[in-house]
Amino acid sequence: MSHNKNAAAVEEVLRSSGVDVRKCMRCGKCTATCPAFDEMEYHPHQFVYMVEKGQIDKLAASDSIYRCLSCFACMERCPRQVEPAKLIEAVRLHVIRAKGANHLKPEQIPAMLDEDLPQQAIASAFRKYSK
C-alpha cells in the first residue's frame, strides 16, 4: 500500500474537493450510472479508492480526468454522499495547476464546436480545461 506516498497531493485533492473518501462503501453505483464509462480508463469508483490509497499520480497521468463530463450523476446517486465528480475535478485542477499549462487553449476551441453543442458545455469547458 502506498498510503504515505504523494501525501501532499492527496491532502490537496481531499481539501480542494471536500470529499471524505472513507465514506465510500464500494457499491459501484457511481460507475454504474456514469455516461462516460466507455471513454474512461479509471472510473468514478476507482477515483475514490485510488485517492484513498494515495495513487494520485496514476489518476493525474490518465486521460480520464478530461473524459469526465461533469454531469454529476455520480454525485446525485451516491448513497453515501461521497461525490466522486468533485474528486475527479479536484485531481484535474491539481494537474492543471501543477503543470502551469492548460489542457486546452481558448483559441483551439472554435474549431471543435458544432451546432448541437450546448452553450453550457462551452462555458464549462473554459472552467474544466484551463485554470
Binding site: 471524505d20 479508492y49 490509497k53
Partner: protein
C-alpha cells in the same frame, strides 16, 4: 361402518382456483360410510367450525374428513372443534388438498382428480381410526442447565426468577464461559467483565440456583418432565464448603509453570488456582496434572498455608443423581485452532495470534495488564493485519474448515481495529475481508465508524502468505478492488478464527438423544417456529451450541429457552401424544431391532412370563414402549421384522387402507 362427514374447504381461491370443490364434494359423497358432504369457503373460520360441529350433532357423525390445508396448519383446530361435540379428536382426518394439490398443480381437471383421490384415502383411513386417549405424566419442577457461560447463566436466572429450581453444571472450575475472557463487547464497547460478573454473582446468590462447577454430565435417563441425571463432580482436592477463596494457596504453591488457559497460555499460573479474580464459585482448584503432591506425594505447601483446612488431597470424584423436568443445553463454543493453515504462520510465528488471544493481550487483567504488546519481543506493534474468515466459509468437502459463516468475527474484528486505533493512533490497521457482514442493531454503523472515523484500512481480499523475517511478519495479500497484490510489513497478525461447538457437545447430545447437524451444532425442532427447542421433548437449546451467535442474540435466545422451560415446569401434568408406538407382545421376537433404531430411547426390553401350552409358563424377552418418551416417529414399526410394532393412529392397516384407496381407480 363409521358415519362419516366430509368437509371440503375453498381456502378462498387458494384451493378453489385449482380444484373444483363442488366436484370433490359430489364424488366423495358416494364413498362408503359418507352420510354428509359439503364445501365451505373457510373451514377454519369460526363459522366453518360451527358448520362442522352442527353436522357432527345432526348427522351423528363418528368420523370427520376435512379436505383443506396441511394438517400442520389446522389439524389441531378441527380436532378441538370435534372434541367440543364429544367426538374423539383422533377420529378427524385431514386430506391435504392445498399444499399437495392446488399449490403444486395448474390444471383444474388434474387437481380435482387428485383431491378426490386424497379425500378417498382419508375416508378409508377414518374407517379404521380408533378413539385414542392421551395419557398424562407428572413434571419434576426443576431444570438442569448444561454449561455456565452467558447463555446458561441467563437461562438459569430467568427460570429461577420464575420460581423454579435450577442446577447449572459447568465443566470448568468457574462459570462465566468465553464472555469472561473477552475484553470489550460490541457495539457499545462496554467491558465484558463489568456486565458479566454481576450476573455471575446473581447466580451464586440466587436461592433457587445450585452451581455444580468442575462437574460433568455422566448419564441421562428418563423423559420429558422426568429426567434422571447423574452428575460427576470432579475431584478439585479442595473442600468447596470450607474454601473462602482467600487465594493464599495460589500464592504459596511452588509449582509456578502451569500454562494459564484463561490467558490463552500467554502467562503461567500455579498448580492450585482460581481462574480469575471474579470467579464463581470463588474456590481454589488443584490441577492434578501439575500438582507435585498429587503426583509424587511430596509437597503439601497449600495444605500447610490454608487457614481453614480446605485442601483435601484424598478427594475423589463424586456422582450425584438429580431429577429434572427439563434440560437446557448451553454447551457453547471454542475458537478453531488455526494450526492447519501453514500459510498463515500461526504455528510458527509467535506474533500471529487468534482474536481470542488478542482479547487477553488487550485486557487489563491479561498478561500485559492491558498494554498491547506483541508476544515475541513485548514491543508495541505499529502495523497490525487482521485476517477474517479463517476456517469459516470453507468448502465442507475438503475439510479446509467449517462451511458456515461464524457470524461474530466481522463485528469483533471491527471492535479490535477500532480499539487499537483509538488507544494507539500511531498504529496502521489493515483488515482483509471476503465480505463484511454486519447486520444487527447499530452494527453496520459500528463497522462504518471503524472505517470512517478511525481510518481502519478495509481491503477486499485475503491474505495468502505470512512469513517471519527478522522479527517482521511479511504479509502477502490481494486487493481485489484494485487488482493488486499487496506486501505489508506487519508487527502483529490477528486471525479471526471460526467458531466451533465445544467438543463435549457431541457426547452430551448422545446422552440427551438430541439431534445434531454435521457441524455438531444442536438441531432445533423447527428452524423458524421452534428455534430454542430440540426435537426431543424436554430438551431446550441456549446459545452458540445451536449455531454461531453474538452476546445480544445469545442472551435473547437464552431467555427464550427459559420461557419454554418455565412453560413446561408450570404444568403439573403433561399430556402425551397418544399416537405412539405399541408392541404386540405376542408377536415380538425380542430381536432388539426397534430398540436400536429408536432415536428417543423409548423402547426397553424385559423378560415376561407367558402362558404356554399344558399349563406351562415360558419366559420371553419382549419390547415395551414408554408412551411418555415415544415421539411417534414410526422408525420402530419399519424396523420390526415380525410386525409386532405398530403406531397408534398410523397403524399398518390404516396406511395400507389409504394406499388401497389411492390405487383403486
Amino acid at each position: 361402518m363409521q358415519r362419516i362427514g366430509v368437509f371440503v374447504c375453498h381456502c378462498g381461491t387458494n384451493i378453489a382456483a385449482t380444484v373444483d370443490v363442488k366436484a370433490v364434494v359430489e364424488a366423495l359423497s358416494h364413498e362408503p360410510g359418507v352420510v354428509f358432504a359439503t364445501d365451505y369457503q373457510y373451514m377454519c373460520s369460526e363459522s366453518g367450525q360451527t358448520l362442522m360441529r352442527e353436522a357432527i350433532r345432526e348427522h351423528k357423525l363418528g368420523g370427520v374428513v376435512v379436505c383443506s390445508c396441511s394438517p400442520r396448519m389446522h389439524e389441531a383446530t378441527f380436532r378441538k372443534a370435534a372434541a367440543k361435540e364429544g367426538l374423539n379428536p383422533y377420529m378427524v382426518e385431514i386430506a391435504n388438498i392445498r399444499e399437495q394439490v392446488s399449490w403444486i398443480h395448474k390444471d383444474i381437471k388434474e387437481g380435482t382428480e387428485k383431491a378426490i383421490i386424497l379425500g378417498r384415502a382419508a375416508i378409508a383411513k377414518v374407517h379404521l381410526n380408533q378413539p385414542l386417549q392421551a395419557g398424562e405424566s407428572p413434571v419434576t419442577k426443576r431444570a438442569l442447565v448444561i454449561g455456565g457461560g452467558i447463555a446458561g447463566i441467563q437461562t438459569a436466572l430467568d427460570i429461577a426468577e420464575a420460581g423454579f429450581e435450577v442446577d447449572i453444571v459447568e465443566k470448568e472450575p468457574t462459570i462465566g464461559g468465553k464472555m469472561a475472557q473477552i475484553d470489550k463487547t460490541f457495539p457499545t464497547l462496554d467491558c465484558a467483565a463489568c456486565i458479566l460478573t454481576p450476573k455471575m454473582v446473581d447466580v451464586a446468590q440466587h436461592e433457587k440456583i445450585k452451581i455444580f462447577s468442575y462437574s460433568e454430565i455422566e448419564s441421562v435417563k428418563g423423559f420429558v418432565g422426568n429426567f434422571r441425571v447423574a452428575i460427576r463432580r470432579k475431584a478439585r482436592y479442595v473442600d468447596e464448603d470450607k474454601c473462602t477463596g482467600c487465594g493464599i494457596c495460589t500464592e504459596k504453591c511452588p509449582q509456578k509453570k502451569v500454562p494459564n488457559e484463561f490467558n490463552m497460555g500467554f502467562d503461567t499460573r500455579r498448580a492450585v488456582y482460581i481462574p480469575f479474580a471474579q470467579a464463581v464459585p470463588k474456590v481454589a482448584t488443584i490441577d492434578a496434572n501439575y500438582c507435585t503432591m498429587l503426583k509424587t506425594g511430596k509437597c503439601g505447601v497449600c495444605a500447610k498455608f490454608c487457614g481453614v483446612g480446605a485442601i483435601d488431597y484424598k478427594q475423589q470424584d463424586q456422582i450425584v443423581e438429580r431429577e429434572y423436568g427439563a434440560i437446557v443445553a448451553a454447551t457453547g463454543f471454542n475458537p478453531l485452532k488455526p494450526t492447519q493453515y501453514d500459510e498463515l504462520g500461526y504455528a510458527t510465528c509467535a506474533d500471529v495470534v487468534t482474536s481470542l488471544e488478542l482479547e487477553r493481550l488487550m485486557n487489563a487483567a491479561g498478561p500485559t495488564a492491558g498494554t498491547l504488546l506483541r508476544p515475541s519481543d513485548k514491543k508495541h506493534p505499529h502495523t497490525i493485519v487482521f485476517v477474517q474468515c479463517v476456517g469459516s466459509r470453507c468448502d465442507a468437502e475438503n475439510e479446509k474448515g467449517k462451511p458456515y459463516c461464524s457470524k461474530i468475527c466481522c463485528m469483533y474484528t471491527a471492535k479490535h481495529a477500532m480499539l487499537i486505533r483509538d488507544k494507539y493512533p500511531d498504529t496502521e490497521v489493515y483488515v482483509f475481508y471476503i465480505d463484511v457482514r454486519t447486520p444487527g442493531k447499530n452494527f453496520d454503523e459500528f463497522y462504518r465508524r471503524a472505517v470512517e472515523q478511525y481510518g481502519v484500512h478495509y481491503i477486499k481480499g485475503q491474505v495468502g502468505k505470512v512469513v517471519e523475517e527478522n522479527g517482521t511478519l511479511k504479509v502477502q495479500a490481494s486487493d481485489l478492488l484494485s487488482g493488486e497484490q499487496l506486501h505489508i510489513d506487519a508487527d502483529l497478525v490477528v486471525l479471526a478464527t471460526a467458531v466451533e461447538p465445544d467438543k463435549s457437545a457431541r457426547g452430551i447430545a448422545t446422552m440427551l438423544t438430541a439431534s445434531m447437524d454435521t457441524n455438531d451444532f444442536f438441531t432445533e425442532a423447527h428452524a423458524k417456529l421452534r428455534p430454542v427447542e430440540s426435537p426431543t421433548a424436554g430438551i431446550f437449546l441456549s446459545g452458540v451450541c445451536q449455531g454461531p451467535k453474538d452476546i445480544p442474540e445469545t442472551v435473547s435466545q437464552a431467555s427464550a429457552a427459559a420461557a419454554k422451560v418455565i412453560g413446561l415446569l408450570a404444568k403439573d401434568k403433561l399430556t402425551c401424544n397418544p399416537c405412539v408406538a405399541q408392541s404386540d407382545e405376542l408377536l415380538c421376537n425380542g430381536c432388539s431391532s426397534c430398540e436400536r433404531v429408536c432415536p428417543y430411547g423409548a423402547i426397553t426390553y424385559s423378560d415376561k412370563e407367558f402362558r404356554g401350552p399344558n399349563r406351562t409358563t415360558l419366559i420371553r424377552r419382549v419390547a415395551s414402549v414408554n408412551p411418555a418418551v415415544c415421539q411417534g416417529c414410526g422408525a420402530c414399526t419399519v424396523a420390526c421384522p415380525s410386525g409386532a410394532m405398530d403406531l397408534k393412529g398410523f397403524s399398518n392397516r390404516q396406511i395400507m387402507a389409504e394406499v388401497d384407496a389411492i390405487c383403486k381407480m
